[in-house]
């Protein structure tokens, strides 16, 4: 079946301000937020993109929603290249692809009532006003916000974090999209509230058959949501596979370090030293070849010369590492 979302060699550079010397020499330093990313998301899949800050996952999310343009490469949605979308076709895309934000307290205009905030996408899509009430009600039902009357006239500052995030989700669903990107949807919520929102997202995805991409730094959390996980490091995908596989049998040295570093609520958890050296390098001066090589305990000369490509290995996994070649 045709993939729903396809990315091919996507590259995104952010130019940085240049010193005089650089201007004169014609150099154009840039932060290479994404350095050649390719993967497919099938229709109805739930994929997690996991990585630490600076790995490019947020940028990737924004590119997939055409909130920014790639410097290179191509992204396709349901067969249509995003770069070619304009006018009516772009509006159509906007109806089908939505975003759930990280900060529920900021994702809603503080001057809008809840009703107005959730109805806004309907306005923008040119849907007849008579239908608004119905569709808003439907969206609220989906997110289990009982007692509509209580919320519709309220303002964001009157709601709790969990309620706000449900409203944000309702707004994202009101146009019945096909594709949903969630950027750290629960990281700013209290722990006891997160579980509820995660369960809701799972339920909504199943009920509506959405294709979902979850962006998170929390590997422990994505296990509950996604069957497939992509691990990113400094603008590249280093590992791609079933979430359980990645957690139980990580193949890439970075993933191994990541999995070992996550603490668990067990007082007897292992406390061995992490198999990783040093700190994240400056994004403007990435190591040649494999970006991870200066922190990797298994670095070989080959790693400096050649960037490893993402290759399938046993277990339904793909890994970008020369060790696995």
């Amino acid at each position: 079946m045709a993939a729903h979302v396809e990315l091919r060699d996507v590259v995104k550079h952010f130019p940085v301000s240049r010193t005089l010397g650089e201007i004169l020499s014609g150099a154009r330093p840039a932060v290479r937020a994404l350095d050649g990313v390719s993967f497919d998301v099938g229709e109805g899949d739930a994929v997690a993109i996991v990585g630490e800050s600076g790995c490019g996952k947020t940028t990737l999310g924004r590119l997939m929603l055409k909130l920014t343009e790639p410097t290179g490469g191509a992204i396709t949605f349901a067969g249509a290249p995003l770069a070619e979308l304009a006018g009516e076709r772009l509006r159509d895309f906007r109806r089908q692809a939505q975003l759930v934000f990280q900060n529920p307290f900021d994702a809603l205009n503080p001057r809008f009532t809840i009703y107005r905030a959730v109805a806004e996408p309907l306005h923008n899509a040119g849907i007849d006003k008579a239908e608004h009430a119905d569709r808003v009600a439907q969206a609220f039902r989906r997110v289990h916000l009982a007692d509509l009357d209580r919320y519709l006239d309220r303002y964001p500052h009157q709601l709790s974090g969990g309620q706000l995030q449900r409203v944000v989700l309702a707004r994202a669903l009101v146009l019945a999209p096909r594709f949903l990107v969630a950027d750290e949807p629960v990281s700013m919520l209290d722990v006891s509230v997160r579980a509820g929102i995660l369960a809701l997202m799972r339920e909504v995805r199943d009920a509506m058959g959405l294709t979902a991409v979850y962006i998170s730094h929390d590997l422990a959390l994505v296990r509950y949501l996604c069957e497939r996980t992509l691990v990113m490091y400094l603008g590249r995908i280093v590992e791609d596979g079933p979430t359980e596989e990645i957690v139980r049998h990580p193949k890439h040295p970075y993933t191994r370090a990541l999995v070992a570093a996550v603490p668990v609520p067990d007082a007897d958890q292992p406390r061995a030293p992490l198999p990783i050296k040093g700190n994240v390098p400056d994004a403007r001066e990435l190591p040649s070849g494999c970006h991870f090589r200066d922190r990797c305990p298994h670095a070989m000369p080959r790693c400096a010369e050649e960037a490893p490509a993402l290759r399938p290995v046993a277990g339904g996994h793909s890994v970008a590492c020369h060790l696995e070649a």
């Binding site: 800050s53 209290d190 509820g196 570093a261 996550v262 603490p263 668990v264 958890q269 406390r271």
Partner: protein
């Protein structure tokens, strides 16, 4: 006992009345141990620590209770001289509180000379020592904060707190804003500090995994009160208070086989209202009639230090079993959605 807190009350004056943000908190920090103070937003953990340090906001004050440091009672005025010397405080996002116009080394030296009365040379030597202690290269003393990464800035903030060799370190969410690998490195560093310096610590966090990794004892707070406390292994493996049980279920565990997270429905009470009875009662699946009227007392167990503020503490084992079943927590969904 390095620190003893008994029935601490901290109130805040707000536009809509007095909020009893900490309302009867009791816990203790033995010498050389790391105590985790854990709870969700609004439970009072940050306020409790600020009250101990004597750095409450203008509209807050200690309304009651007893705080004793090394056996000596502390009141507002007495804590000032202790600041930076015996007790040190690393506030939330301390890494963002470094002054951007001075080098990190200069800020460290300033602490040592102004508060520690050291000579400049002695201060510089000590600054290098401190950097070494927290895992930073001494040559980075001449760097500015913006040249440091988030993790390095947090290490620097901890170095500043340790400058005058305090016996007690109070750290508020020291690793929350950091990436997971850096977080682990900082936690390892804190453990090393505990071992090398016999440093006692209070670690405030909302993350029980961090507590499990680093702390020896844990104090669980809810709505301004301590609901459970004890050795970390005991409390996490055999929780006795329904809130702790619920928290365990709501926390993702990378290594567990369970693929279900169970939320606790409802939300914490408004601390501006007068509250009678147990504060967790509206959200508790095991609540009984008596729970609404008489307050739960922190008690339980003879000799052992694992205590819980639940009237049904005696039935803790059977309640725990029931708590493992997700359907137990569905019964409270008649209350307001969280």
């Amino acid at each position: 006992m390095m620190l003893e807190v008994e029935d601490l009350q901290v109130h805040y004056r707000t536009k809509d009345g007095v909020a009893r943000v900490v309302d009867g908190a009791c816990f203790a920090v033995p010498e050389g141990r790391i105590v985790g103070l854990v709870g969700e937003s609004g439970c009072g953990k940050t306020t409790a620590v600020r009250a101990i340090m004597g750095v409450l906001a203008e509209n807050g004050w200690r309304a009651g209770g007893r705080i004793a440091f090394k056996g000596q009672a502390l009141d507002q005025a007495a804590t000032k001289p202790l600041l930076w010397r015996e007790m040190a405080y690393v506030p939330q996002s301390a890494m963002n509180s470094l002054d951007p116009v001075y080098t990190v080394g200069a800020q460290l030296v300033e602490v040592l000379t102004k508060r520690g009365n050291a000579s400049r040379n002695a201060a510089r030597a000590r600054a290098a020592e401190l950097f070494d202690l927290v895992g930073l290269h001494a040559r980075r003393l001449t760097d500015y904060p913006h040249q440091f990464s988030g993790g390095m800035r947090q290490r620097a903030a901890i170095a500043m707190a340790l400058a005058l060799e305090p016996s007690l370190l109070l750290a508020d969410e020291p690793v929350t804003a950091l990436d997971v690998i850096v977080q682990r490195q900082i936690l390892d560093m804190l453990r090393e500090l505990q071992q090398r310096l016999r440093l006692s610590m209070v670690l405030v966090t909302h993350d029980i995994s961090v507590v499990a990794y680093l702390c020896n004892e844990v104090v669980v707070m809810y709505a301004g009160q301590v609901v459970e406390s004890g050795p970390v292994r005991d409390v996490l493996a055999r929780p006795r208070h329904p809130y702790t049980m619920g928290l365990r279920n709501a926390f993702p565990d990378l290594m567990s086989d369970a693929l279900e997270l169970v939320p606790i429905h409802g939300s914490p009470p408004d601390l501006r209202e007068t509250l009678t009875g147990c504060r967790f009662e509206p959200r508790c699946p095991f609540a009984q009639a008596a729970c609404t009227t008489s307050p739960a007392m922190l008690g339980g167990g003879t000799g052992n230090r694992h205590v819980s503020a639940c009237r049904r503490d005696g039935e803790a084992d059977s309640l725990r079993q029931a708590a493992l079943d997700p359907s137990t927590w569905q019964r409270t969904s008649s209350f307001a959605m969280s």
